[in-house]
Symmetry: none
DNA sequence: TATGAATGAGGGTTCATTCAT
DNA sequence: TATGAATGAACCCTCATTCAT
């Protein structure tokens, strides 16, 4: 990326990414914010024109920034993942009790609408982009640390891994398409808490199957569909 | 279902429902079965023509049986709800241990693809149809019984209600649209087990909000959307 | 195609092309006719909606018959090629003088708007469809015969082949996109006549390059485009 | 072009055209060159952004020089017409035999991609611009001279005029849109030669219709289109 | 002036729904 | 009744053109 010299292009580099314009950047952020909201509220299939309208821009501008829906979804996923990773790191840093930190992260992730990440498990989603893998690894690392600490303190059962937490968390907070009823949130909190209780040590049961990391999830290939 | 008596036309009602033909009934069942499969595999927005094709009938035939998508969804929800209610009753009848019965129901509901019920929470879904309410009450009653019994035996925490279980169950087993990866099932089992562990008494935390019945969920009105 | 038994499907063939409906066939013909006119008048890039409107049908109906523009172009090319082949055979049958037959064919082809065939030389046009090859071979055979006869009678120069005639004929009669000026036709007649005069024996010059058949033209692959 | 004197601002005309900057002129030429190439390769409907990119400039710069596609086409037509006129004059000057000069011109025009002139016959093309008429007259004059000389020498038939030659020449060399197959050129040479043979005296037939000048062609108004 | 970005209008295509056989 | 066909509305996307840097 040559970030150091990026702002001073020499004659040897003729016109290479000549500094993104301020309003373009602002538009890009607006689009991602609008898309995140609408993905959460309406599902990943909302008309892109609606997103553009919510972002207050023309439809073609959206296409300039994100050539197709996949690109937009990827960018939203990236943005959410970053925010959730930050939440995990913040929880670890600011909470002294290990399980309290885990709980705080879970609620923070819900607030960040982590359910918006679920399109990344869909068919056709490109899981292997470098940026995405980097962000995923960052999130994975932060949550792994949170869980390891809780496990060391004897509060988290041994037989669960990051994948268990993240997928259940995503599913439990997943938005109902077409349902923008705010009441649902209070129920989600209860489900999360019950799930957290189930995560506590000592384990009250033996889990079927095996634990999974985020990488495992990323590797899962969707089966062919007729 | 009780179709035998319900449709028997008396002499006083001249031809109100002129006897559904055998093949028509078979078609109706085929459509519902195909729709349930495809809702689970592809989401509730699959093209109706695809459902018709999977059911092996013409598209217009589908419309004869179900005038629009909502009708079809309602019928599928009804069918699933019936099957899940039966599963609850069976679990109660055949399992001696109260929490084992609850667990068996949870897994049976997962097998019945209870996640396909989630469209009933969507905007535009008509929750107040008599048939639907009857079926919902039956399911509610059966699960309430299961939970009451488990609570009486001291195995289920006091602060949870049917709505908590059913919504979380639906969410955790909810299919990923466009993702037909079978691996996901093994993870779902783990999540359900962890959730069940969180349901056990003694309660390991104090739940936020209040417990909800299925009736409460049905009353929730989706907020207006621009 | 099993045309003989097509109207009486046995139980052994469950629903295989259950007889095309009369109005569907009529629509198909209307679309092809409208498309041919508009391709000739406006070029191959006319909006398909315009074709549908000219054909007096809805736009989606056009897509039911021809899934994309390529399919439609292929069908139009086929139809024109058939008509032109018939014209060649008719000219051969009804004209006693060999060169007169050739001339009659050339003018008939112009009247059939053979210039509408030119899209078949465009990039992305699928040249290798069986039906297309059959039609092309029929046309090639008919014109080859016409030319052979004229050559035997000493009226046609030896160094020209079917490809020379057909491509020049297509180009000279090619419609000007956006130009529906009828005056142009009288000029086209002059050009065709001049070209025919150039085809007469004895040859007034030595032609560069080599003669080409229609097959040769079909084999030409368009080079990659940046 | 006579740019030197035409744009020299006198003291009486205060800054009517404030001296075109060197790089602006260079850009203008680049655009025309790029447009000519792409019109020939891809047809007159290529996206203007593509032309700008091929020319190595921004899209808005193209619009500064040519407010719309029509202006650009006009300029390209002008440029090509100039080059073809020069070719005609050169052929007349350097070739002693009259018909050889005509033949040389025909091939030179093909090399100059005279087929790129065909948009000038399209609907919406503004034929009556002074510059265009001047250029057209120059070309007309040069070709008329060539033909007159060949006619005087008894090598060119009497019943053809400039319009016959130029339109046929344009059509026969016209590029196939989307087809950049180089093989076609060898065939074009054959067609041109055959056409030239048809032009030779003595006339082998009587031509239908009447001969046309370039002016006649310019006068032809496209008929109204639905 | 040259440029990247923004935009609205329009074309291609799909899909829920209706029609006619 | 069951069906293939027809339809228009809506979505995605492109492109000519304008705006702001």
């Amino acid at each position: 990326m040559s970030t150091a010299t990026a702002t001073a292009p020499t004659a040897a580099e003729p016109r290479r990414a000549p500094r993104p314009r301020a309003d373009a950047l602002r538009n890009r952020e607006r689009i991602i914010a609008a898309a995140r909201e609408m993905f959460v509220e309406e599902g990943a299939m909302v008309p892109l024109d609606e997103i553009a309208r919510r972002a207050g821009i023309g439809n073609a501008t959206l296409y300039r920034h994100f050539p197709d829906r996949a690109e937009l979804i990827t960018s939203v996923v990236l943005a959410v993942m970053e925010r959730v990773a930050v939440a995990a790191e913040t929880a670890a840093a600011e909470e002294s009790d290990a399980f309290a930190a885990l709980r705080r992260f879970v609620y923070a992730a819900a607030d960040e609408r982590i359910g918006a990440l679920c399109p990344m498990l869909s068919e056709g989603f490109e899981r292997n982009l470098p940026e995405l893998e980097a962000s995923r690894d960052r999130l994975d690392g932060a949550v792994t640390d949170l869980m390891a600490r809780a496990r060391r303190s004897g509060q988290l059962r041994d037989d669960v891994a990051v994948g268990d937490l993240m997928v259940a968390l995503s599913q439990l907070t997943r938005p109902l398409p077409g349902t923008a009823c705010p009441n649902i949130d209070q129920f989600v909190r209860r489900h999360l808490q019950l799930f957290l209780d189930g995560l506590q040590a000592p384990a009250r049961s033996e889990l079927p199957g095996t634990a999974a990391t985020l990488q495992d999830l990323s590797q899962m290939q969707p089966s062919a569909v007729g």
